[in-house]
Symmetry: C3
Subunit: 213 residues, 3 copies
């Protein structure tokens, strides 16, 4: 029960990020709903395809689909201050990252995937929805721009697999790992941690050129 | 028999759209054939991967592959007026959308997918080839720019699933749904129907900046 | 044994290309490792998903993952002259293309895929990693820009299937086909072979606009 609620929360916050991105880029309502679905359900769909669990479970889960669509509509029509909202999304998105990472790794292990494959599945489930969202809307995925996005995810995925291998994985441990991923992601973002960048290169991924007015 | 001809027609018109896009963007013949294959066969491949029907059927269907390659070559070498041709492609593309939507939903249902998954499969089969075509050629997918692309597709997919659930689905009903999707798509495009757009945003997806001369 | 070494070499050189691309575009170390993994393991993952061999084998192969990660780190930190290195990568990349093409087609045939599907699997295994790498980093895939990338790959894939159908496929023949793909790719690149381009179009795919300084 806790797990289901947590998962729906993850779907919802990723979907909110998709809907907000669509609104910012001038798409209409339907584009917002499509991007919300892609961001919210994409990670789970990639997980299920890579594990052969087809058709993917979240495509037939009315709660997940409903949460994603609702989040897309809300993100589109919200008239709250975007700045405040953006911080909320950052926080919730970090929570979704933690939950999906643990979920992906555990699903893979319980279906008998080898340990290293399970690590990848955790990683891809955590970041997959955001990557699809960004590629479809013509952006370089955030995971390639900000290294404190995928590193906590990778750490969490490895931790789950190690706990599982040691027969020490419990639901409580899973929640703790999700919280750890969440905290590392937020800390890294707030303190602007980053790995050494190649010195001969510009310091940041260049923004798309500004739209013609 | 009608179904096979209709499906090949769908493959062909999506492939034409891929080949035309490649020619317009200055790719050479091989790029045109690749984009034609991606656009023509992409939707069916996504459908089969999500349903676990691998290897995907249309990759081993000589007729489908032949139609897609032929359409790519024709689209590349045609010297007809592009404007006239573009309207023809719009019409045929709407036809393909209708046919693939019905085809995707019915295939999912007949393989035992749950109703909501079947709705998604119809949607993804209908729009999948176009999305892959646009992402590979560096464009934001048309489905995110023009909401009267995916809405008719979604409506048709829901309709097929409802008919199937009521044991009322027949081949004739399938053709009628495909015609409905086709008509809604064309009407929406011609009358420029659109959902309410967020008022604080520019009215349309910005074009890519012009190429340097 | 020869096959395993050859495959790891292919993973490594594709991964090097991903890491180099990341460094050139100003990503940090983690982005380089991610792009290296995508480029090195992407083709094999696509192959396994399309064949239903899940979870994909190379995601649980410590040697393949280790080679890809190592190549990403090396590509990021190397201080060799990039020009010299770029030619080396071109050569090795052509070798990887040959090896993965043969590997994809043979894997498909040995799992009972129909001949035409096997041709596609060879093609997609050969080019898949590079396509994912380019799409994720916001580029039009090289396969759509340079037709002497996919044509040798297609030729090699067809050749493997014909040999297999004639019961004449041996490991030695496989190596010879891989060498042929390698040689055609390099010759085509060096002599700038290309198919007839549509005359009304600019001669080359336009570069992205330069980054703002």
């Amino acid at each position: 029960m806790v797990v289901e609620v947590a998962e729906l929360l993850g779907v919802t916050v990723f979907a909110l990020s998709g809907g907000l991105l669509a609104a910012r880029r001038g798409m209409d309502l339907f584009g917002a709903v499509v991007l919300a679905l892609v961001a919210g359900l994409g990670g789970g769909t990639i997980r299920d395809v890579l594990l052969g669990a087809v058709p993917p479970a979240n495509l037939s889960d009315a709660w997940a689909v409903g949460c994603a669509v609702g989040a897309g509509v809300v993100a589109f029509y919200q008239d709250l201050g975007l700045a405040r909202f953006r911080r909320a999304v950052l926080v919730l998105d970090a929570g979704g990252l933690g939950l999906f990472t643990v979920n992906g790794a555990v699903t893979a292990l319980s279906l008998g995937a080898p340990p290293m494959a399970a690590v990848f599945l955790g990683l891809l489930t955590g970041i997959g929805g955001g990557v699809l969202r960004d590629v479809l809307s013509g952006q370089v995925p955030v995971v390639l721009q900000d290294d404190i996005y995928a590193l906590p995810c990778l750490a969490g995925s490895v931790l789950v697999v190690l706990l599982w291998q040691a027969d020490a994985f419990t639901p409580v441990a899973g929640v703790l790992v999700a919280v750890l991923v969440f905290a590392l992601r937020l800390l890294g973002r707030m303190r602007r941690w980053h790995l050494r960048r190649t010195p001969s290169q510009p310091p940041a991924w260049p923004e798309r050129p500004p739209r013609p007015a």
